[in-house]
C-alpha cells in the first residue's frame, strides 16, 4: 500500500525567509509526486508534480520541490516566503495504477 507522511502539522516562517514543507512517501514502483495548496476558504489547487527527469521541479507561485529517491522525500521549498503563501499544503503520491494518496497536510503561516 502507498502512503504519504507530512511530519509537521504546522510550519511558521517570517516573510522573506526560505521555507520548507516536508513530505516523505512509500509506494511500490516509480512514484508520481504532487503538491497541492488550499488557501483559506478556497478549493484545493495543484501546485507542482514530479513524474520523471530532473529531481528539482518548479511550479506555480515560485514554489519548487526536490525529489530524493534514496530518502523517499519530496520536500516543498520556496526561497523567499510571502504572507500570501499562508495556506494548507498537501503532498500526494500515486503509482502505476493511478490512485492518489494524500498526506494529512501542513499549515504554513508566514508572518510579516
Amino acid at each position: 500500500a502507498q502512503s504519504v507522511a507530512q511530519p509537521e502539522d504546522q510550519v511558521n516562517v517570517a516573510e522573506g525567509n526560505p521555507l520548507t514543507v516536508k513530505c516523505t512517501y512509500s509506494v511500490s514502483g516509480n512514484p508520481y509526486l504532487f503538491w497541492y495548496v488550499q488557501y483559506p476558504n478556497r478549493g484545493l489547487q495543484f501546485l507542482l508534480k514530479y513524474i520523471t527527469g530532473d529531481n528539482l521541479v518548479k511550479g506555480s507561485y515560485g514554489f519548487e520541490a526536490e525529489f530524493n529517491k534514496s530518502q523517499t522525500s519530496f520536500h516543498l521549498k520556496k526561497p523567499s516566503a510571502l504572507v500570501s503563501d499562508s495556506a494548507l499544503y498537501f503532498c500526494a503520491v500515486s503509482a502505476y495504477a493511478g490512485k492518489s494518496t494524500f498526506g494529512d497536510g501542513t499549515t504554513l503561516t508566514v508572518k510579516p
Binding site: Y36, P40, G43, A92, A97, G98, K99, F102, T107
Partner: protein
C-alpha cells in the same frame, strides 16, 4: 473549459435524513474521487472510480455511505440516515489518470458543505 462542479454548495439537513451530493467532473476525465474534509483538516479518502473498473470503496466510513458514477461521468454520493458526525466538506476531484497514466494531477471542485443538525 469548465472545472469540476459540485452541487449543492451548501446543504443543511436534519439528523436521520438522507442526502445526495452531486459531482460533475471535467469532460474526458476517467478518474473520479470523493474526499471528506473537516474544518480545514486533512483529506479523508472515501471512494475512487477509475474508468469501467470496480470502484475502490475502501474509504467509505459505514454502510450509510454509497456512491455511483453513471456513464463514466456524473457521480452521486449518498449518505443515508445522516448523523451529526457526517458534518464536513465533501470534495470531489477528477483527473485524466488511467492505468499507466498516473501522472495527471487531480482537479478539485469547491466542495459541498454538509451540516447535520
Amino acid at each position: 473549459g469548465a472545472g469540476v462542479s459540485q452541487s449543492p454548495s451548501n446543504k443543511v439537513t436534519e439528523k436521520g435524513k438522507d442526502v445526495e451530493l452531486r459531482c460533475d467532473p471535467i469532460s474526458g476525465h476517467t478518474a473520479l474521487y470523493w474526499y471528506r474534509q473537516s474544518l480545514g483538516q486533512g483529506l479523508e479518502f472515501l471512494i475512487y472510480f477509475q474508468g469501467n473498473s470496480a470502484p475502490d470503496k475502501s474509504g467509505l466510513p459505514s454502510d450509510r455511505f454509497s456512491a455511483e458514477r453513471t456513464g463514466g461521468s456524473v457521480s452521486t454520493l449518498t449518505i443515508q440516515r445522516t448523523q451529526q458526525e457526517d458534518s464536513a466538506v465533501y470534495l470531489c476531484a477528477s483527473s485524466l489518470a488511467a492505468i499507466g497514466g498516473a501522472g495527471s494531477p487531480l482537479h478539485f471542485g469547491n466542495g459541498t458543505r454538509l451540516t447535520v443538525t
